[in-house]
Amino acid sequence: MTVKKMKRRAILAFVQNKPGTLNKISMMIRRKMYNVDTLTVCKAKPLGVSRMTFTLREDDEARVLQLIRQLEKFTEVIRAKELDPDTSYWREVAIIKFELGKKTLEKLQKTYQFEILDSQPHDIHIIQIAGPTDRLDRFLEDLGAEHLIEIARTGVTALDK
């Protein structure tokens, strides 16, 4: 079976910070037969409210709207909406451990301006890099899989302009 690469969607939900809320949201996403690409949760500005951003793949606008309406049906969900990539910022952070010679490291840093968190003997470094997903992807490509030891990525969080 060939999997068609579908449009990536970011959905933002303001939810009551209560046990079970995440459970309900992920349950609905599962029932709708999506796979969550990324999920981030943080405290929102109002007290007791969390801000949840998740991304999934779907081409059909109507199905996205359906999902949003069904999410909003949960009493715990105060508001849900889709974030339009043209009018919002999508960013993520990665912490990456790799082994790389000094020269290439400096070259990469010039291009990507990441923060070096730790450097150990034998050219082992831990860095922090932030930006749009494709920037992180490009960095990893430039780094080369053979140099990579371990990576932690937050997944996308997003904000409307």
């Binding site: 939810v15 009551q16 079970g20 459970n23 309900k24 349950m27 029932r31 109507a62 709207l65 359906q66 309406r69 069904q70 909003e72 049906k73 949960f74 009493t75 715990e76 969900v77 105060i78 508001r79």
Partner: protein, 577 residues
């Protein structure tokens, strides 16, 4: 005060009189407290917890249109008790019936350790009910219960589950604890509820209505739930627009009204389904375009604009694209639209004539069999029995069918005259619902006659509730339409599986002996000329009565739109081999 006292105080404040409950380790304290306050509640013990959920449904659904609407409350112990509630709660969720289930849970100290009779009730119930709660301290109990009732009965109705750990039930409140119901306001910023229609969409709707030549109105469960049957009828009469009913919309107005098209959908009438197919406008009130109603979506009502009035916004544009979506309560919308000075009417002579022609087809088809009354094998036809019942009771009684062919026969051949007199499991189609649901309905409407109509299959799924009937002395008239088969599945086998009857023949016990064991009078009816007398005997008897009718297994319910088919695929007439 103790947690158990607060639970009962909250239930009492919400007007609860009946508790359908089954005891066990973790719910004992509540039941014990109820025993102390025996004058406040009537405890009705089902013989299986599933029965409690359907009794609660029956009470909620039947009382909704009375002066004293009540919410059905069911109660069970943790683990197996709570798991036995699952089917009935899922059923209530599918059919938007407000019930409150209270389950005992193991003590907070041992939750999530696989303690004795521990099940993750919240985890199991979450996807199959409207909301779940687990109060973790005694002072949360009252506000939780009040919120639960609010959520169950606000917006689109639904079942709510409250799982209360035993230690929380037994906790004493602090001295300074107080709860003021008058000041209580549920704090639910995310609970979207929009009862009144917006002005501009209403105007657009009225424009479409005024313009249309071939409109059809849909009467769904929302009409019943918002008690809007009379208004719907008035609206239909005022605009001269015919009305088609969903399974749950039945009994919202007299089904023999000149503008009524009867039921639509898979087993709908020819006039209803053809009207939908040829309509230029659908005005749908409180329904959700279920696949049993629409058939193949790509062929559904292709030439019609759709006005959809629905309280649940997630149902709008879900299956059918609307021209005008009105997210509001059906009763409020009808109230406004009915009095709009711009609303006009038309004679619609052509349209109504076309409908009358199609109505003749349905009638003629049914008459072929009704005039004989029995099948080729000489056994009774279900449609005969239901039409006899309808005539004898003048269509005025409460009908609670089970699930299967007899259910569709009852839907099609009972001449509903009384508002809100049909309680059926639709969205889930849960066999076994009838007997317990009829008990709940009878408790809600003691002055009306209640008929539980089951097949031989479904009756045996909750047959044990005869014990509840015996114990409570509930006056429910029970009909078993016994065709020796899981008939509805057999019908599919006849039509789509080349007549291979795998897994559908069913051997039944001697229902007479069973009735005797429960001290319920019984008659078995095998002959056509005994049908009326038997129905009259049951109707006139004071107390429960069991009638078993021996039916022709080869009878089918037609018309039928095969699953996944379009309205053009409707099978109207039976070609006998």
């Amino acid at each position: 005060m103790k947690g158990t006292e607060l639970i009962l105080r909250a239930l009492h404040a919400k007007g609860v009189k009946y508790i359908f409950g089954y005891t066990g380790g973790t719910i004992m304290p509540v039941i014990d407290e109820m025993g102390k306050q025996h004058d406040l509640f009537t405890f009705v013990m089902p013989r299986h917890e599933q029965g409690a959920t359907f009794m609660a449904q029956g009470l909620s659904r039947a009382s909704l249109s009375t002066d004293n609407p009540q919410i059905g409350v069911c109660m069970s112990t943790s683990g197996p008790g709570a798991m036995n509630l699952v089917t009935g709660i899922a059923d209530a969720h599918m059919d938007s019936v407000p019930i409150v289930a209270i389950t005992g849970q193991v003590a907070t100290g041992v939750i999530a350790t696989d303690a004795f009779q521990e099940s993750d009730v919240v985890g199991v119930m979450m996807p199959i009910c409207k909301q779940t709660y687990m109060p973790l301290a005694v002072d949360e109990i009252e506000k939780t219960i009040h919120e639960a009732f609010y959520v169950a009965t606000t917006g689109r109705f639904g079942p709510v589950v409250i799982d209360i750990p035993k230690d929380v039930q037994l906790q004493e409140t602090a001295k300074k604890y107080s709860f003021d119901l008058k000041k209580y306001q549920p704090r639910l910023p995310g609970f979207y509820y929009h009862p009144s229609p917006e002005r501009d969409v209403l105007h657009k709707a009225i424009e479409l209505i005024n313009r249309s030549e071939r409109p059809v109105m849909f009467c769904g469960h929302g009409v019943i739930s918002s008690n809007a049957g009379e208004m719907l009828q008035e609206f239909a009469e005022k605009t001269n627009i015919p009305v088609a009913f969903t399974l749950h919309g039945l009994s919202a107005m007299p089904i023999d009204h000149p503008l009524s098209l009867g039921m639509m959908g898979m087993h709908g009438t020819v006039e209803a389904n053809r009207a939908v197919m040829n309509a230029d406008l659908i005005i749908s009130f409180g329904m959700r375009f279920d696949d049993r109603v629409t058939g193949k979506l790509s062929e559904y009502a292709k030439n019609a604009d759709v006005i959809h009035v629905e309280i649940d916004p997630s149902e709008l544009d879900k299956n059918v694209a609307t021209s005008v979506a009105i997210n509001a309560d059906v009763a409020r919308t009808l109230h406004v639209i009915l009095h709009d000075p711009e609303l006009t009417s038309k004679p619609r002579r052509r349209w109504l004539k076309e409908i009358a022609e199609n109505r003749k087809i349905t009638l003629a088809e049914a008459e072929k069999e009704l005039s004989v009354g029995v099948g080729d094998d000489g056994k009774l036809l279900m449609k005969t029995i239901v039409s006899r019942l309808s005539t004898i009771t003048e269509g005025k009684d409460i009908i609670v069918p089970d699930v299967g062919q007899h259910q569709m026969m009852a839907a099609r051949f009972y001449n509903f005259q009384t508002n809100n007199s049909w309680f059926s499991s639709g969205g889930a189609g849960t066999m076994g619902c009838s007997l317990p649901m009829a008990i709940g309905a009878k408790l809600a409407r003691p002055d009306e006659r209640v008929w539980s109509i089951s097949g031989d299959g479904g009756f045996q799924m909750n047959i044990q509730e005869l014990g509840t009937i015996m114990e409570q002395g509930t006056d429910v008239k029970i009909m078993i339409l016994n065709n020796g088969y899981l008939g509805m599945v057999r019908q599919w086998q006849t039509l789509f599986f080349d007549g291979r009857y795998a897994g559908t023949p069913m051997l039944s016990p001697d229902f007479g002996l069973i009735a005797k064991a429960y001290n319920i009078p019984y008659q078995k009816v095998t002959e056509l000329d005994k049908v009326d007398a038997a129905i009259r005997a049951a109707a006139e008897h004071e107390g429960a009565y069991l009638l078993e009718f021996i039916c022709d297994p080869s009878e089918v319910i037609l018309p039928m739109i095969p699953a996944g088919g379009g309205f053009g695929d409707m099978i109207v007439s039976r070609q006998k081999a």
